[in-house]
Every structure is written in C-alpha cells, then in structure tokens.
Amino acid sequence: MQIDREQAGSDVVLKVSGRLDTPNAKPFEASLMEAISSTDGGITVDLAGVDYVSSSGLRALLVAGKAMRTAKRDLALRSLQPQIREVFDISGFSTLFEIK
C-alpha cells in the first residue's frame, strides 16, 4: 500500500493505492489521524488506486470519520472503483462520508 499526501490550502488529499486489508489498516489509520491533527481543513481520501477493502480498512476510515465528525470537519472519499463503491454503499458508509 502506498499513501501520497497533497496539501490544498487547509485541506489535505490522501491518495491511497494498493490493498486496504488487515496488515495495511493500522498504517492507513495512522496516516489519516496524522492528517487530521496536522490541519484544520477538510480531508479527501482518493481511493482510485484501491482495489480491495476489508473490514479492517473500513474500520480505519470509520475511526477517522468519527474524529472528523467530533471536530465538525468534512471527510470525503473520491474516485472509488465500482467494487469498492459497492462495499461502501452496503456498509452504510455512503451516508456517513461524502463520496465524490
């Protein structure tokens, strides 16, 4: 898994590629939390390069989503592959995150 960070003003874009599985979930969560604490703006996670999301990956996003919700900030997801979009729709995450 690879995570590239882009700063756009106060907003951060995290470009993720690879598998969001159990071994990668913790580093992914750590990157998200680091991004949340290092900026005051919104965060967008670009999942164009992600072709696999397990429950561990979903939970990492959920943890970040909760933190952003508490801080009253926006966490958005973008460029989801159809298969990945399906798991977000099924799990109800589409109601929690803005999906671009």
């Binding site: 429950s55 099924i90 109800g92």
Partner: protein, 529 residues
C-alpha cells in the same frame, strides 16, 4: 391382513398420541418444569422428587434430561444436582404406563368429545389452552391406538398365536424389548405396547417381564444414540440416564434369578400374581425397574458423576455455555439481578464478532470454532432470557419492570442476531473463495458488528453513529437483487446462495439497528436518573 392393518393403525395412533402428548405438555409446562428442577440444588432427595414430578409432567425422561443439561450448562445446577433429577424423571414416566394399564375406552370417547367441542367453539384461542387441548388430543389418540392394538390379535388364527407364544424365550423377550425401545426411543412406549399385548393374550406376564427388561435397557442405549454429537455435560447426563436403566435391570434381573435359584419359580408366581390384573403387574415391574435404578444412582451420586465424567469429560462447549454474570441467587434483589442480566447481554454483544468469518484472514479462521462459540453464546442468551422471564414474574417496581422489559427485548434481538450471523457464516463457509459480492457483504457486516461491540460501552455519539450506519438498506439491496435476478452476477445455485446472503445481511442490519435502539434507550434512561 386386517390384524396387521389394525396393529399398524394402532401403532401409528399411539406414536402420534405420544408425540402430541409430550410436545404439548412440554410447551404447557416447560417453564414450570424448569422452576421445579431448580429446587433440585437443595438435596439429593428433593432432586429425585423434582425429577419424578418433572418426568410425570412431561412424560419424557429424555426431555427432562435435556432441560437438566441446559440448566447445568447455564450454571444453575451442577452435574451432581442433575443426576437425581434424571434418575427421578425415569420414575415419573411410569405414570403413563399405569394409565395405559387401565381400560380407558370410555375415557377416549369423552376425550375426543372434549377436544372436538373445544375446537368447534374456538376455545383454543389462547396459546396455553391450545397446548392443553393438544394434550387431551394426544391422550385420546394414545388410548385409541392402544384399543386398536388390543383388537388386532382377535383376527389372528389361534394356531398362529400359539406359535408366537412359544417363540418368546427370555432372551428373545429381552431382544424384542430392546429393539422396540431403541426404535421408539422410549421404554414406556415399549412397555405400553407390552401392556396392550398382555391384554390380548398374545404374551403372558413372564414373557412381558423380559420384554420390559430389554426395553428398559434399550431406551438407555437409545438416549445415547439420540445424543449424537452431544459432548461434555449433556452427554454425562445421558450416561447417568443409562446407569439408571442398567442398574434397574441388573437389580431386578438378579432378584428374579435369585428367586429362581432359591426355587421360588418367579415365572409361575408372576403369572399367578397377574391373574386378575396382568397389565397392572407389568406396570409395577416397570416402576420397580425405575425406582431401583433411580435409588441406586441417587444414593451413589458421586460415583455416578465420576463414571459419567470418565465417559464424557467436560467439553469446551460447556465452558463457553456458562453464563458469567447471571445467578439465580441474585433474584432476591431485582436491581442487582437486572444489572447482572445487562452485563451478561453486554458480554454477548461484545462476543458477536466471533460468530462471523474474517474473510481477510481466512487462514486464521476456523468454522468449527465459530460454531462452538455460536452454540455457547446461544445457550447463554437463552439462559439470560429465562432469567429475565422469571425476574419479570416477580413483583418488580415500575422502574425495574421497564428496565427488565427493555433487557428482554435486547436479549431476544440478540438471539435472533446470533442466529442470523450463524446462517450468514454458513453461506460464506460454503465457498472456498467467496464471490466479490459475498465478500463485500461479509466485510460490511463484520464492520457493523464490530461497531456495535464498540458502541455498547462508548459514548452515546457512538450509538447514534451506529443507528445512522444501520438505517434502511432496501434501495441498495434491491438493486443488488435485481442484478442477481438478471443473471449478471451469477446463475443457478450461486445466484440463489447470494440472494440468501443478501436477505440475511438485510435482516442482520435491521437487528443491529434495533439493538442499537435498545442501547440508546438504556443510555437515555440512565441519563434521566
């Protein structure tokens, strides 16, 4: 030919009657039987008496053994407490044998009339009345079946009957009884058949003695066969059941043998004894077998327990089936008892993720381990349900009653969710490599279940988030169903399995939403106080 038809019809009616009788009695009296059995902790004698009463009420020592096994798993009884109960249940089942030994032709007519009137005038509208009407119908069919069996030999030529009579040696009698009890899984059924056969003159009392002896031992073996894959405590009680039967047979047979050796001619004496009422005498023999077996097993309860443990050591399932919090002693203080029930339910919610496969870590996943956890969690869930029902039956304060009803609702939802997760896991276990849709459903469900486990102890915002995540999914899931119906994802058996998985997922999400709702209600109630 008519005799065979009458015999078969009689047997059919007898079996239907027994099934109806036992099934409806268990439904009508199940809770009361549980309450009776709980008193068994006081002493062995009380345990024996409780078991006798329970056996007489439900007319199935197997059913009492099963209930006692559940109470042991639930930590309410110890195996040692349960042994006299199982022993007593065998004595209790003698009641039906005695009833069957009486000529109840007129009773059948009245019973049928009562059942018919009850149905015609819709007296079966409440669940309890329905069960009792079922009991009456069961009794009527049982007695009717017995009358048919008694009638059958009248159409058999005398010479054929004589040939049959001559063929019953003690060993053949024992084998016939053994086979009949193993097939019917009941010594009392085989003995009732024997009672009917005596009534027709097809066999005499000394033949019947050996048939009943074989039937008694056969029903013990039948219990072991029907125990199937049961392990640990459940099977220990099956062995206790067998010991009751075996010891009863040995004691009574040795007494017969002793009498024979001493020149008392037991065969002739028992025939003479039964000249006026042979059916009653065979009922007494049946009772004697149960009483001697039960008395010896109860008296040597420790030895019985040690032997049963040796044959069936405690299993892992016994450990996971034991409640961690609920305890009947706590019922004297309802607020504490409610706290314990809440903690137990809370623990079960925390363990829900163990019921689902982790498809991302398939190598570490163990279906047998998950099934074991499901059985354990289900047993504790049911024990918590019984605990709450009994608590609600006590005079609770308004506040305690509200909480008890809320916990009961949560416990019922939890049991349904456990079952749904198990069914979902069964679908995924059917695949070496689950298709992408099933993978997504499984991982989404796992995420939501993990969230519930976390939310139960978290701040209220966690519960609110879970409620949001588990809102109605029908739009998304209907779209998936349409795609499946079009054959775009899979065809035939695969599509059917996926449709089942989608429905189970939808049910699980709905149950998760309802469970989260009960957690919010508890949090709101706590905030108010």
């Amino acid at each position: 030919m008519l005799a065979i038809a009458e015999l078969l019809a009689g047997l059919g009616l007898l079996f239907i009657g027994l099934k109806l009788l036992s099934g409806h009695l268990q439904q009508a009296m199940g809770r009361r039987v549980r309450a009776i059995l709980k008193a068994a902790t006081r002493s062995r004698l009380i345990g024996l008496a409780c078991g006798t009463l329970a056996g007489a009420i439900v007319q199935s020592s197997n059913a009492v053994t099963l209930i006692a096994g559940n109470l042991v798993r639930g930590g309410i009884l110890t195996t040692r407490d349960a042994i006299p109960v199982v022993a007593g249940a065998n004595i209790g089942t003698s009641a039906l044998v005695f009833i069957a030994s009486v000529d109840l032709k007129v009773a059948v007519l009245y019973l049928v009339a009562m059942v018919g009137i009850a149905y015609q005038f819709r007296l079966d509208r409440t669940a309890e009345r329905r069960e009792w009407i079922g009991v009456l119908l069961g009794l009527a069919l049982l007695f009717l079946g017995l009358s048919f069996i008694k009638l059958a030999p009248q159409d058999v030529p005398r010479e054929t009957m004589a040939a049959l009579l001559n063929g019953v040696t003690p060993l053949v009698g024992i084998l016939i009884g053994f086979a009949a009890a193993t097939l019917t899984q009941s010594a009392s059924t085989a003995t009732i058949l024997c009672v009917a056969a005596i009534g027709t003159g097809a066999i005499d009392l000394s033949d019947a003695f050996f048939i009943v002896l074989g039937a008694n031992f056969g029903s013990g073996i039948a219990t072991l066969i029907s125990a199937g894959n049961l392990q640990g405590t459940g099977k220990q009680l099956c062995f206790a059941h067998i010991f009751v039967k075996l010891v009863g047979c040995l004691v009574v047979y040795l007494a017969w043998l002793g009498a024979d050796l001493a020149g008392y001619e037991p065969a002739a004496r028992i025939v003479a004894l039964g000249q006026n009422g042979p059916s009653f005498v065979i009922s007494v023999v049946f009772l004697l077998l149960q009483v001697t077996g039960a008395a010896a097993t109860t008296l040597f309860c420790g030895t019985t327990e040690a032997l049963a443990r040796r044959f069936s050591p405690p299993s892992q399932e016994d450990n996971v089936s034991k409640p961690h919090f609920i305890d009947d002693q706590a019922m004297v203080d309802p607020p504490s008892a409610l706290e314990l029930a809440a903690s137990e339910t809370d623990r079960l919610i925390g363990n829900l993720p163990e019921l689902l496969p982790d498809l991302d870590q398939r190598a570490a996943d163990n279906a047998a381990h998950r099934a074991l956890h499901w059985r354990g969690a289900h047993a504790v869930g049911e024990a918590t349900g019984h605990f709450l029902v009994e608590l609600i039956d006590r005079h609770l304060s308004r506040e305690d009653l509200d909480l008890a009803l809320l916990l009961q609702d949560r416990q019922r939802l939890l049991l349904s969710l456990q079952d749904t997760l198990k069914e979902f896991a069964d679908v995924t276990d059917g695949y070496e490599a689950p298709p992408p849709l099933l993978f997504n459903l499984a991982e989404a469900l796992r995420t939501l279940v993990l969230e519930l486990a976390e939310a139960r102890n978290g701040p209220q915002s966690e519960i609110e988030l879970l409620l949001e995540l588990t809102t109605d999914r029908s739009t998304v899931l209907d779209r998936i169903r349409r795609t499946l119906a079009s054959g775009a994802i899979g065809t035939g058996e695969d599509a059917r399995k996926l449709l089942v998985a989608v429905s189970l997922f939808e049910r699980a999400v709905w149950l998760l939403h309802r469970l989260a709702g009960t957690l919010r209600d508890t949090a709101n109630a706590a905030n108010r106080t």
